[in-house]
Symmetry: D3
Subunit: 134 residues, 6 copies
Amino acid sequence: MASKKLTEYAEATAEVRAVYDDIMATRKTDRINNFWKALASHPPTLRRTWESVKDVMTPGALDSLTKEMVYLAVSASNGCDYCIASHTAGARKQGMTDEMLGELLAVVGMANETNRLANGYQVEIDEVFRTPSS
Amino acid sequence: MASKKLTEYAEATAEVRAVYDDIMATRKTDRINNFWKALASHPPTLRRTWESVKDVMTPGALDSLTKEMVYLAVSASNGCDYCIASHTAGARKQGMTDEMLGELLAVVGMANETNRLANGYQVEIDEVFRTPSS
Amino acid sequence: MASKKLTEYAEATAEVRAVYDDIMATRKTDRINNFWKALASHPPTLRRTWESVKDVMTPGALDSLTKEMVYLAVSASNGCDYCIASHTAGARKQGMTDEMLGELLAVVGMANETNRLANGYQVEIDEVFRTPSS
Amino acid sequence: MASKKLTEYAEATAEVRAVYDDIMATRKTDRINNFWKALASHPPTLRRTWESVKDVMTPGALDSLTKEMVYLAVSASNGCDYCIASHTAGARKQGMTDEMLGELLAVVGMANETNRLANGYQVEIDEVFRTPSS
Amino acid sequence: MASKKLTEYAEATAEVRAVYDDIMATRKTDRINNFWKALASHPPTLRRTWESVKDVMTPGALDSLTKEMVYLAVSASNGCDYCIASHTAGARKQGMTDEMLGELLAVVGMANETNRLANGYQVEIDEVFRTPSS
Amino acid sequence: MASKKLTEYAEATAEVRAVYDDIMATRKTDRINNFWKALASHPPTLRRTWESVKDVMTPGALDSLTKEMVYLAVSASNGCDYCIASHTAGARKQGMTDEMLGELLAVVGMANETNRLANGYQVEIDEVFRTPSS
């Protein structure tokens, strides 16, 4: 089996199908993304990664839209083409508008710029930021 | 003047003071962070960066808290110690709780993990993600 | 000559051919990868890079398979598509199985996740890790 | 509670203590690293991250030393100071010698160099690397 | 409107056209790159980014060629395919030869290698580098 | 010997001293930076890295100042504290002024910003940038 093999439902083992079924039920869809079909070449990674993503993306103190936008922000910052495409779609599904995407990417851009200015100027952390906040 | 020189208000030129004044007025504070004091060694960068940050961080389709959390997410992902410290403080000032920080960093962590799994498995982008969404 | 020019053996200078010959002899193959054909547009880089790679990848305290897997791990972490493709092939040639690839990418993913958790939580290095280990 | 708070065993909740106990039992140690004490400020992240790390680092097709060295390689590549310090210690505990560390970092260095040469020269992936390998 | 929408001049608003006109006048060209056509989906980002790029890339203490090469160096280091392609073209337009590109990418490669060796060996900053230089 | 061990000249082997002597002669200095003293724990890495750096940094189509500034630009972009400190010193020694540093870091910042905007907007490479330039 090649590293780029995508495991379709029809050919999947019971172990893999169980994860696919949970993905489709949780996300209320009948599609499995290529990401999961690729991870299926190593079932323990498929299962563990899905369980972690499901846990982490469940709405809690942050809602689903905010979480999807943060996921997209990190993926755009890292330059992961697959993840940018899939999480742009995911965030839009949660209600992200063009205007919100524009503001999100503007923040991502500025953060990347000022991160490097802080590095390059070797800025010392202000004493006030070092104090635990509570 | 050294690269690590911090320009204090008392010694600043009128051009630099004008930016410092606008920072303090906009942020309703009487402190200037070391980041801006370091940028003051190159006044055009100080002015341009502040104008951009002010524009980008103004609440719009996304509120100030969401923007600060995205800024922190990118900074944590990039490993910029200064920016992590200052934007953790900034997000807390906008209302970020420990629970929200915990969920934010959990998403940042998972995004960094799955970005690399998508890379490593050389996953092809799903056709459905390639279609413009409008 | 364009930056994307690939220099084929037939059109190569004696200086470039000498490197190509050494690559083919060392790797026991009759193919030159596009990477080397691209570097040939700057012969000093071709020669120096090949000499360094040859030195570094020679089995020593670490065997060839381990070295290829580490190369792949770094490339997957950095998101270099070319390098992921070529070093996946390289590691498989040295004996990497699907199971080993699965475990390797799982470690790469977790390292990327916990690197960002350590950043985001601004974790202080434990005193015990600061002590030289000898 | 501040972001840099470290939760000691004595003050930990039962939920956190259960994870700490499992860490100490699994690793046959009576110390909890600062990393885990920091994650304890968000117990779901502490539990999930520990379960994932435990799963991923269990010897399988790759042994513990190889896994620790890959973890260190990624951390050195990413520049995570905490993770470099802790996984250098972890790999040494599994038997990494100075010579092995030297060869490991040499591979990490070369991979980072050639990743950028492949990027900069915009090298096309060889057709032979695109073919699934089995 | 989709995230991948490119706004052509003919369909652009007056606000967007004003930026396009300034880009073409400043660069003495009648083409607008896809980058700007993509940013046009969020006009404030288009305007702000163009104003910043124009400011930053104006020759000053560094000439245009040096600035374009630095831009390319960072883009190659970050692995941004679009930016590598566009700034390779930009630097060539300013006079970058194959030989200069070869030397530039060689420095980028070495910097990426030694950055990771410095990380991995946890090298302490020399006291002499800590002293402000003036 | 620990990973953070710095090998001083007095305790160095003949092999290591030969490299140190060449560094001091080439750079017309009587100091050895901590970077080289750390690499000395793995002599083949010390020798190979020094030979490569010496080759790459020799003035050619690009002068020494330009090369040092590119090295610094990449290091600031990557956030390598050691390398930022040492190459800021190196570039200043070659004549970099505060004004040049200001402009250099401004380009580094903008490149990091626009790299992420290009990623996030999933911008297609313009056909004209795909054509080999000669």
